[in-house]
């Protein structure tokens, strides 16, 4: 049943957000801490668990993969509701922040690839 997949996804999200809220209160940041990340890990854990013990049916998977496929459209809607006017008043900062992150990340790829391969040769 498609609803089983949607419900599993919902359970993971609610459990993750709940854990994130509790974590936030424990750390004292008065905010949700990593709820979405915890929900993702929970979904990976549960979907792999059921893979071994009882298989998720095809319709159940559809209930999850539909929402996964809706990711880009939802991000598009998110972009369309942003306060862009306010953002553009210091537009260069966003462009430089994003651009610098890309350059730094590209530069690290050969370094980590070499380190990783080095580890392999050792073992």
């Amino acid at each position: 049943m498609v609803i089983y997949g949607v419900a599993l996804l919902s359970f993971c999200m609610l459990a993750g957000v709940f854990t994130g809220d509790i974590l936030g209160q424990l750390i004292g940041v008065r905010a949700n801490v990593g709820g979405v990340g915890i929900a993702m890990l929970l979904l990976i854990f549960l979907s792999n668990l059921t893979g071994h013990r009882l298989k998720l049916g095809a319709p159940t998977k559809t209930g999850i993969s539909f929402w996964s496929a809706m990711y880009i459209p939802i991000v598009v809607a998110m972009a369309a509701k942003q306060n862009v006017i306010a953002a553009l008043s210091s537009g260069w900062m966003a462009i430089i922040a994003g651009g610098a992150a890309v350059i730094a990340s590209f530069a690290l790829i050969p370094v980590i690839t070499r380190l990783g391969h080095g580890d392999k040769r050792d073992t």
Partner: protein
């Protein structure tokens, strides 16, 4: 029946069925974007990147016309765009993207793949944060939100919402993430040879360091389509790790430093 009556009825139907209107609206927007991607850029610029860019432009127009802070969603007939693009559906879809990641594949990615995700999040976060500080911001919430945006345009809003940043700062973080995503799409095929991006192993590290799922998927597709699943797999984790680290550990570090 006059034109006014028909227009009023159309407007009433669209407003009453806000979320459905949003599905139809975003569907048309995405379709146009993929059409432009195909015809104007021959697929070089991924359709999703164009759709997001058009979304931001429309949000600008919406803000200009309505004077509100919710972009297109301030038009009553497009209020559903605000629901569809709101935190609830956004987080739901993000969690769903984790589905299909197998623990076995994770193990095969090895230590380097996992490490690259954490290194990538921390690196982009602090590069973005340093740029924010260089531009005169000193509020830890703002600096962290912009740093998180330099990770991905999802980590930025999630972090900003969690820390209580204002909508304009969240929009800045989305803009930083969008810049990153578009640059990754365009630059990946150009630098692929120089950074050794020609095998599954380096593709996993690439996905982990870059993290922007659409940027990585489009960048790898333009470089070597066989590498897409490897890069996408680690990239899938990046947003999760970013959402986990940015509003918590990384925010606390920024708050301690500023």
């Amino acid at each position: 029946m006059g034109t006014n009556v028909i227009l009023e009825t159309v407007s009433a139907v669209l407003s009453k069925n806000a979320l459905i209107t949003a599905f139809a609206f975003v569907g048309v927007l995405v379709w146009i974007s993929y059409f432009l991607s195909d015809k104007l850029t021959r697929g070089h610029l991924h359709g999703s990147a164009i759709a997001i860019a058009i979304g931001l432009v429309l949000a600008y127009v919406g803000g200009l016309v309505t004077g509100g802070s919710k972009g297109l969603a301030d038009f009553s007939i497009l209020a559903g765009v605000g629901v569809l693009g709101g935190a609830m559906f956004r987080d739901f879809a993000i969690v769903a993207t984790a589905f299909g990641v197998h623990i076995d594949e994770l193990k095969r990615a090895g230590v380097a793949g996992a490490a690259s995700i954490i290194i990538g999040v921390v690196l982009s976060f602090f590069v973005g944060a340093i740029v924010a500080v260089a531009f005169g911001y000193s509020d830890p919430v703002i600096v962290s939100t912009i740093g998180a945006g330099a990770a991905t345009y999802i980590v930025g809003p999630v972090t900003g919402t969690a820390l209580g940043a204002t909508s304009d700062i969240i929009a800045l973080s989305v803009a930083a993430g969008l810049t990153k995503s578009v640059l990754v799409m365009i630059a990946t095929p150009l630098v692929a040879k120089r950074i050794g991006l020609d095998n599954p192993y380096s593709a996993m590290i690439y996905g982990g360091l870059m993290g922007t799922t659409s940027g990585v998927a489009a960048g790898l597709a333009a470089t070597d389509p066989r590498l897409v699943p490897y890069g996408a797999m680690t990239a899938t984790f990046y947003t999760g790790v970013g959402c986990l680290l940015a509003p918590s550990l990384l925010f606390l570090i920024v708050r301690a430093l500023l």
